[in-house]
Subunit: 330 residues, 2 copies
């Protein structure tokens, strides 16, 4: 097995140790030197068994029409594992298998907020593309995952308390490879819900009690809009090709919708990797958020000791600790 490169959600943050005027790649400490490792170095030194494979049925491959220079544009989304948002994720698999998105478009790009795609005619009953049979109807209760539901249990909750202090939005943790919030109900029961960090993918919906089907999706392209947490379903995150969604021209209509069809970017196809022949399936791994290396990585993110920094922050926002993801070549 060959590891192509260490990528991270949105590629940027891991390597972004510096705003120096000169790019200065992070040096590996020379043998015998024991300075603290940078976040990138911690990840590079993680043991092979700390990386977890992402199943092909959790990878969604979104191909857009080529750009003006004819270059391919492809984004890969990792879907969340059960039990998080399970019904919406099932719907997305159904839609991908039905080739439902093919020929539809990116319809909205709102700066510092979201890029959204789906059926431009979705609100026009006469012209909307018919949805495939068998989509599940989800409820607002499904935004939350009870802590003792279906195998989610206390063991994953209390990690990383030192670098990852509670913030304005309450306690945040990592569970099964994902950033989650922790909410206590009136009778003391606890629930988890995924968080709106940069690159996360969510399900557009209309006003409550609608919860969306999964046909209309968006990804976060700005500062984490955490006020949406537990108000809307999150289903995954972009793990490769984020730049093809984040650098699109902003729409000039209300909420960043494009005002004319010509401004939209057409979706060539969206497929699950598991729909491809085995040899064509991209393979990815994420650094287990229960691993020792992930804990060290989070600590290094919270206390930057790279030569560029003069004052470590002593803490990190959960969305400033993107889960490391890497592509694997067979």
């Amino acid at each position: 097995m060959k590891i192509q490169s260490v990528a991270v959600i949105a590629a940027a943050l891991l390597s972004a140790a510096s705003i120096a005027q000169v790019p200065s790649p992070q040096p590996t400490p020379p043998p015998g030197i024991t300075r603290p490792l940078s976040p990138t170095e911690v990840v590079s030194n993680a043991r092979p068994d700390e990386w977890a494979a992402i199943p092909a049925s959790d990878l969604l491959i979104m191909t857009l029409t080529p750009d003006a220079a004819g270059r391919e544009r492809r984004a890969i989304i990792q879907l969340m594992p059960a039990p998080f948002s399970e019904g919406w994720v099932a719907n997305i698999r159904t839609l991908a298998r039905a080739h439902w998105w093919d020929g539809l478009a990116v319809v909205r790009v709102q700066d510092n907020y979201v890029t959204q795609w789906g059926d431009p005619d979705g609100e026009d009953a006469a012209r909307a593309r018919a949805l495939p049979a068998g989509l599940r109807v989800m409820t607002e209760e499904d935004y939350l995952t009870p802590v003792f539901f279906n195998g989610i249990n206390g063991e994953t909750i209390p990690r990383l308390d030192s670098p990852l202090r509670d913030n304005a939005f309450g306690p945040a943790r990592f569970s099964r490879g994902w950033p989650v919030g922790l909410m206590s109900g009136s009778t003391g029961e606890q629930s988890l819900f995924p968080l709106h960090c940069y690159g996360m993918v969510g399900v557009g919906r209309n006003l409550s009690p609608d919860t969306g089907t999964g046909a209309e999706l968006y990804t976060v392209i700005g500062h984490a809009p955490r006020h949406l947490d537990a108000n809307i379903a999150l289903v995954g995150r972009v793990i490769e090709g984020m730049q093809h969604l984040s650098s699109l021209p902003r729409g000039t209509g209300p909420l960043g919708f494009y005002e004319t069809p010509g401004e939209r970017t057409t979706i060539t196809s969206i497929r699950l990797a598991s729909q491809l022949a085995a040899a064509e399936q991209p393979r990815f791994q994420y650094l287990s958020t229960d691993s020792t290396s992930f804990g060290r990585y989070a600590d290094a993110r919270a206390n930057r000791r790279d030569p560029f920094f003069i004052r470590p922050a002593g803490g990190a926002d959960v969305c400033n600790i993107p889960v490391p993801v890497r592509r694997v070549l067979a």
Copy 2:
């Protein structure tokens, strides 16, 4: 005086109440209806005397070459008021008056991090453009503003505690229209430092003890990189035209630098508004962060009661409370 529109840092967040599949502009409550106001409505209802004018000498107008379709690209940056980052801001005024940036370029766009501009040959002594005389050399101590220095005093510190809870990076406040952190020294003295929120503009530098001159600038185009706070000078924020910097193609070299000169976007000019004839000077106001309406706005951001939301968060990250800024037509 005519108010053209209520704009907000990065334009997006104020109007971004919804990820609905249909754009649903926020309705004004009908007369006699007393439902809580949305953030946008609070700002619209602010009294005229709660808005503060931005001096023309604090407005930096950055004009890029037109885009592929020939459309004008212009971003307007509000510089920070004294005493924050005062020496670097003075340098930027000196550079603008010298037309120093004209013909230079955007050299780096790193996804979920920064867009950076300056002299592409800045690190090549033989080819670098000479800096104007009189630039001040700043120290690392200047990243911090002592609370009792030069008129900054306790009155602006303790506001908004309810919606704006402390987070992983320590206490955050608003002072003189800007998001700031609060740091206590070993002898109890307190200092303020501006925060790396989306759209903030900072000063590129090399390794410590270099602090940069102000010739090399960047703006934040992703989730707030708060680990940079108090490690690098912030000098302002983009208040109009952010999309021209945030939607540029990402660079494919290390740290998002462009690999070839042809990928760069050329800067036509950077000028202070005060360098223009009075009739040509754009005029802007910001909502005073000491005003009653700003407190209500922050509370509405932290407890979203727009019809779209089913669960108010009860708190907001300081970078999720962008200071409202509006353009004023004479």
